[in-house]
Amino acid sequence: MAKRPEDDPRRYLDPQVIARISQLDLRARSVVEGFLSGMHKSPVYGQSVEFVQHREYMPGDDLRRIDWKVWSRSDKFVIKQYEAETNLRSYVVVDASESMLYGADQHRRRGTLYKYDYTATAAACLAYLTTKQQDSCGLITFDEDVREVIPPRSSARHMDAVTKALHVSKPKAKTDPMKIMRRVAESMPSRGLVAVFSDFLCDREPLFKGLEMLRHRRHDVMVFHVLDDDELTFPFSGMTKFEGLEEQPHLLCEPRSLRDGYLEALEEYLVEVRRGCTKIGVDYNLVRTSDYLDAVLSRFLFQRMSSRAAPVRR
């Protein structure tokens, strides 16, 4: 029997659906609820560093959490349960530069998400998801400088501040990644998880230096490289004047004639960014604005689990 659209818990993960929701907090709630419903028996509950009790192993439990000492004594599989840790700090860093505004008008007309819209939604989702799990989540938006800084909180009202900060941060000016990352590092006194959302249309060297700085401070850094479909496929035709954002020059051309060259340069750039991130231990994720948001959430949760699991002694 075919599932009705309204029964599909992932319906809010579709950017086209999300775009219809005007309020960011509602968007985030819809997305996260849909996401969690879609994960079914998620093993994420109960991660902590303080032991609480044993319980009998159930199929689906992580094998790593089996208490082998008990097994050796009683020949029974039991799971160790810990007290949830609430002081895991995570920061969502959002690029609010002008380049993130690409295609805003067209996407609005089409009812789809443009880069900043997508990024803001994803950031809100992460904040909601984090606070919903009793973790604290901060937000930093930036363009040529840091515009908004919302310190990490875990309260329910914290989402209001986050969504407000995302709303007020209109994309403008040129990105200076080095400066931003330094500010982010300074803003995060203790070790945490940093999720950076940006199109990274900037100089690669200061970007990598900035990210390296975060890594140097023992932050877990994950990069969500958000690009528009148009930027990935360059589908333009007909004589077009490309007006460079962020003080780039203009170019009048027949785009089809340059498509091959564009795609080659794009590939070169993507490879460079991916390798640069990999090299310094940053988790790199290329995300396009038409991707379902669960791609972002999944990658985030996976990284968060890794971050929380790291200090745990088995």
Binding site: L263, R274, T278, A295
Partner: protein
Amino acid sequence: MMSFFLNPWVMAAGLGLAATPVIIHLINRIRFRRVQWAAMEFLLKAQKKMRRKKVLEQLLLLLLRILLVVLAGLLLSRFLGSDPSASKETRPVLHVVVLDDTPSMGDTGAAAAGGKDAFARAKSMVTDKLLPAVAKASTPQTLRLVRLSDGADLLNPSANPDRPADAITTQGIEAVKAALAAEKPSPLHASVVPGLKRAKEMFAGLKGNETARVVHLVSDMRSADWTRDAEAITQAVKELTDEGVKVHLIDVAAPGRKVDRKSPAYSDNVGIVELKPRNRVTAYEKEVEFDIRVKNYGSTDLKDVRADVFVNGATNHFVNVRFDTLPGGQEATQTFTVTFNSTQGATTGTREDPLGRFNVVTAMLDNTGSDAIAADNVRHAVVEVKEKLSVLLVTRPPDEDKPTSKDGDSFSLRLLFEETKLSGTEVVSGTPADLDKRDLREFSSIYLVNIPALTASQVANLERYVKVDGGGVGVFLGPNVGVENYNNLAYRKGEGFLPFPLPPEPTPPLTKEQKKKRDDTLAKRILLRDAAAKSHPALRGIYESKAGADKDTAIKVELSFMITSIDQHWPVARIGKWREDRSIQELYCLPNDQAISEFEARVKKLTEAIKAKYGEAKFEKYRGTVDGILSRMRELAGDPENPPLTELAREADKLLSDQISEGDASEALLREFWSQPEMAEARSLAQALRDSSRFGDPLYVARKYGSGRVAVFTIPVSAPWTNWPLGPGLAGWVAVMTELQKYLSGGSTDENRTIGSPLDLPFELGRYKPEAAWSFLTYDAATAEKGNQKIPPIRDPVPGQPGKKVALDSRDGAMHLGFGDSKRPGVYLFALTRLKRDTDPTSAPSERPEYHAAVFNFDTEQEGDLKRVHTDDFARTAKGAEEVHSLEDDAWLGVLEQKPTDLSSGRWIYLLILCVLIFEQALAVRLSYHNRPDELEMFAPSAAAAMAGRTVVPTEGAEPAAAAEPGA
């Protein structure tokens, strides 16, 4: 500039439109959309990298599109080329139309399908197509119309050299129509070459290069004409084209030429190629044989083709000529006999009508099926019929000759001519001196009987009589013949009329023993030298049976040879130049009377030659037979009783024959034996032995000498050398002499002359008035109806009117009657006036009329074959001429109308446009940046992976762990 185009405004528009691609490009540059673009970095990189290549490609595409527009403009504006006047004649034009009116143009092959004959099609071509097209030309056009058969200008019948060429206008075309209305195909054969040369003559009067010259050869373009005169045609066309003359070849034969059929179909035709009497002069009541040769030029076999024969216009019901089958492309010959008497319509002429002696025999084909040309179905021959044929019998003076004595030299000949079968002859006796005195042409033949010697003038007279006048001379070599005189004057090392030199002496008389031995042997004493001699004209009457003739003649003659005695003869050696002369043929010879023992060595040599080769197994089945014959031959050769040599010849004959008893298959077939290559040498030995043992010295030798004939017997016609004329072998003698007389009197048979061919009759210098009269006589057999109706003669001039004059000119020591005005098939009769000479008898008149006849017929051999020229041969033979045009092809007439030719009439412009279009499209597709499905994957695999929602495969270096699949 405007003159370069037929539609110059279209070209102006085209040039304007040529800017369209540039304008479109510029408009596109103005009309652009704006996109605010973040990833300018990549775009700028791409632009920097591809700029030069893209600009060049785009520029090339732009140029191609401009070129396309320009080419289309050139095409539509009808570009006349860089020199517009080149395709348009601006000078006045003189057209010479050479109209083929040869007999083949009477080809009615297409008439059966409702069409016209070729000549009517030619006329129609000229008046209905060619001239109207020419009349449309913008420059003055003039015309001369040449008839091919005689080169006459049909528009200038008076041949006035000052008459200007006729203007080609509507009135002019009507005049041409009127001039052509009465024209019919001529019976005269003519080559294309004189027509082309005549055309060249007509251009001769034109000054400089002010007038353009065009020749139109309107013909049926038969292969026979173009093959025979190929070189001359090539030369004639070259001469014309070298002078800037355009030569148009217009083929009017049906069916019209097609591009895909270069060997066009042609009409079937059958015609009489030759009608030849074997005697030009005959006696009244005598038979004359005629050979009729008919050829089927078509490709289909004809059956039951018949020929009706008319004598002086009267149907001859006694003659039946029928060709049961006449295969396509082949000819056949039949012989028929006409007896010239009043029953069969012959006349001998009278004092009032001396020309009545010339009897016209006409043959006309019947039941010829699909026959395109009727004119070649009729052919004429002429035979002069005299009351008696005069024979000059030259002997020694009467006191030596003893003509009335049985032992006289010429007794038997006189008896034969006067009292036996040759009653149609009138014998005139004479001595060698008469050879100087008499006009030898009065005699149908001359016999020299045992003449001791001739003077040089007598020999010269005789030789002229034979060589030039076609007379016949029979020579009987008797005991009084002077060897030295004959060899020096009559033989003259092969130059004289005597075919061979005489030996120093005749054979000695036979001894009694030799005679007895000969009489005891049953063998022929006169032998046919060669089987081929049976068909020789001098013996054909004996050996070749014909309808109504005595079929046993040959047997009787051969039997008579067994009882004929020849005791002495002139042993002419079979060596020397005369053996190689093909005009000389030995007809009869004597048996070899050598002793058989003289052949012993040759028999032995033959035996050894055979035995040296027949040892192989394959000869085993023949060995017994061959051994038997060889053994018998050795026995004969070694027989001390010296048997007749003929027995050895018989055995040699057996050896060479393939079968001894007819029908006995068990016998060895020696034909197979001799056909083995190993036996080639032995075979020639056996043949030489057979011939030398069988054949003795020559007896009867005949030769052609000039247009006449000579026959020589190595024996006289009287005892004691032979008893042939008066002895038991008389029957054979009469038969042989009858044929001899026919042969000698038939030497001057007419040539197979064709209409228009020149006639040259030589006469004795000073003996004739220098002017002769001629008249024409024919019978139009085509008007004959079935039944007994007599066709009326057609005479020109009519009887009573004086004949047309022709002059005799003196050259080369003779007077020559030259005649070349024959224009119709029939007999041309010439009346000359012979003058008296001092040596003539005093009773002779001072002037005496003398008549000659010559027959001219349709040239079937040249005109009968209607096969047409292969289209490719025109390019080779008429190099430089325009492409051959068919009657149905009107496209080329536009040239005559002086319609300017432009690019659109050529093919290359379309080809060029097509090529540019293909190139432009190919380049446009290449530069059209149609997104290919694999393009993203090819150029940007990372982006492709992102678009596909998967992780890109790491290319090098350490890569992060695979990103989670969306929704995983």
